[in-house]
């Protein structure tokens, strides 16, 4: 099917991608606008970035967000990978249906419900809302995404490699660490990055489960946006977009490398 595309298909692609990218592109361009008005181009300027660096509230929020994201992504990657192995390798076990449901439900669950329900749990358990509770909430949400990513990799994984290692005397743990893990590592890394960006991005669940002193960047951006559009937020958004794009490109390269490795084995 490598014929040339019909003009209809080309139109669909052009229009589709223009629609997807134009708003982001405009945001990035206007973060370098010297004028505060969107419709007036006041010349190229990086003053909003300078203002951003001086904005202590945003800086603190960014720091909280990065710490939550890193901690959350680490734990979520471990739990999510374990869950993926359980689903792919351990066939039928008691409560598998419930387990599968619990893995897939958070993916589509409206965030207001997840946020509210976790908050009620934390209050009932007597936990103080703050850094810890946001992290716990984000782990719960993002581990399921890690599971989906790692699972798709494990399904196409040749089990004979693992069995060969065990026939040669390796314990299951050893076989996992020295054969399986290196081969699924790109998917695990991609899962980590996905968990990290999801945590970085979340507004709703963080608003429910966070407390004083643990305001995340999306919460800060949201409250500033509600007060009115400010060019500083454009600058902050541009930085976030750059960060995420870099992450996605790294993840894509890792996946490509993994496909290459798989092809060699």
């Amino acid at each position: 099917m490598s014929r040339r595309l019909s003009w209809l298909n080309v139109t669909a692609l052009t229009f589709g991608f223009a629609f997807l990218y134009l708003p982001i592109l405009l945001l990035v361009i206007y973060s370098f606008n010297a004028s505060q008005l969107v419709t007036v181009w006041g010349g190229f300027s990086t003053k909003w970035y300078a203002a951003l660096v001086r904005n202590e509230a945003l800086r603190d929020a960014a720091w909280v967000t990065l710490r939550v994201g890193f901690l959350c992504a680490t734990v979520a990657t471990i739990l999510g990978t374990l869950a993926a192995i359980a689903l792919v390798r351990h066939g039928r076990f008691r409560g598998r249906t419930l387990f599968t449901g619990m893995v897939y439900a958070p993916l589509v669950m409206p965030e207001v419900i997840t946020g509210l329900s976790l908050l009620l749990l934390f209050v009932a358990a007597g936990l103080d809302r703050g850094f810890g509770t946001v992290t716990l909430a984000h782990i719960t949400l993002t581990m399921c995404f890690v599971t989906v990513v790692v699972q798709s990799r494990l399904v196409s994984f040749d089990r004979a490699l693992e069995e060969a290692a065990m026939d040669l005397g390796a314990t299951p743990l050893r076989a996992f660490l020295s054969v399986t893990l290196p081969l699924i590592l790109p998917a695990v890394a991609a899962g980590f990055l996905l968990a990290f960006t999801l945590s970085l991005d979340d507004l709703v669940i963080a608003s429910f489960t966070s407390g004083p002193g643990a305001t995340t960047l999306p919460m800060r951006i949201y409250s500033q946006v509600r007060l009115g559009v400010t060019p500083e937020i454009n600058a902050a958004s541009t930085l976030l977009i750059a960060l995420v794009s870099a992450g996605v490109i790294v993840a894509a390269l890792l996946t490509k490398r993994s496909a290459h490795l798989q092809g060699r084995v």
Binding site: A12, P110, G247
Partner: protein, 305 residues
């Protein structure tokens, strides 16, 4: 050997048990909390609801606790038509925008599946990239475009199409636009997955047998891509029903959506029990499409030889 199998069982217990336990505590248990608090009454105290069970061991306290639970919040939801309108309007917005997403996403996914094999990974990456970029920022970007003194109005005025700036921001149209924009990748990817797998020889066969390209499309391509259509529609419909960020930032104060109602009951009115009752209702609304989907899936499996 006995040691090895013991180890194996321990490993299995960790691999399954750890994520299982985590999800049971942080995903399942919270729903029971929502259910229990939706039956409580709001009070100005900490925690802001009653009854509260203070001693697990005392039977008398359990009795009092259970007697304190009632369905008052659900009666409030039932009798106040604000909640009815919010629920219906959420469903309407979700249905209309899922339809719009299908109409817009299908041609794009189709063109992607027809693109030369070498360029397909790049196209997929281009669809995924906005999905990874902050949801909040992507919605926020539309404010600068849609507001009365924003880019779209400036452009239309410059073209001379309109004489007065259009009021788009803070209207339902802005909400539809924002939803379609934010959820488009979720629609394209499952559609693409099912269209890409489609065997092109089937279409060639249909054309060889004399059907026109459009007939081949409607009788071969569309039915075979139906699983992707259903998956994409559900993947969009379910979160859209409970959407909060988009109606809050792009919609007007009269844009009712149930997710937003829940949010304001919780944050503005501080009525946790009522917010929990709204969450229960929202969950019940969402169970319906999932059951329908499972029915369709089951029928499809039965239909297959």
């Amino acid at each position: 050997m006995a040691v090895a199998s013991l180890r194996e069982r321990a490993g299995r217990a960790i691999v399954i048990g750890l994520p299982y336990l985590w999800l049971a505590i942080f995903f399942l248990l919270p729903f029971l909390m929502v259910l229990r608090i939706s039956l409580s009454d709001p009070v100005t105290a900490q925690p802001p609801y009653e009854p509260v069970l203070r001693r697990w061991t005392s039977l008398a306290e359990w009795r009092e606790f259970l007697l304190g639970l009632d369905f008052d919040n659900f009666e409030t939801l039932w009798s106040d038509d604000l909640y009815w309108r919010a629920a219906l309007s959420s469903l309407e917005i979700a249905l209309v925008s899922t339809g719009a997403l299908l109409l817009l996403g299908y041609p794009i996914a189709y063109a992607m599946a027809r693109a030369p094999e070498r360029t397909r990974p790049l196209l997929v990456a281009l669809v995924i990239l906005p999905f990874w970029t902050s949801f909040l920022i992507r919605v926020y970007a539309w404010i600068a475009i849609l507001k009365p003194e924003g880019l779209l109005n400036a452009f239309l005025l410059w073209l001379g199409v309109i004489a007065q700036p259009l009021a788009i921001l803070n209207t339902p149209n802005a909400v539809y636009l924002g939803i379609v924009y934010a959820y488009l990748p979720f629609m394209i990817l499952p559609l693409y997955a099912s269209l890409e797998r489609l065997d092109p020889t089937l279409i060639e066969a249909a054309q060889d047998l004399g059907s026109t390209p459009s007939k081949a499309f409607w009788t071969v391509t569309v039915p075979l891509s139906l699983p992707g259509v259903v998956a994409g529609a559900l993947l969009c419909f379910i979160p859209i029903v409970g959407e909060f960020v988009i109606p809050d930032l792009l919609g007007g104060s009269d844009t009712l959506m149930i997710g937003r109602t829940l949010w304001s009951e919780f944050f503005s009115n501080r009525d946790w029990p009522l917010a929990s009752a709204v969450a229960v209702v929202l969950l019940l609304i969402l169970v319906i499409p999932i059951v329908v989907y499972r029915e369709i899936e089951a029928q499809r499996w039965e239909a297959q030889p």
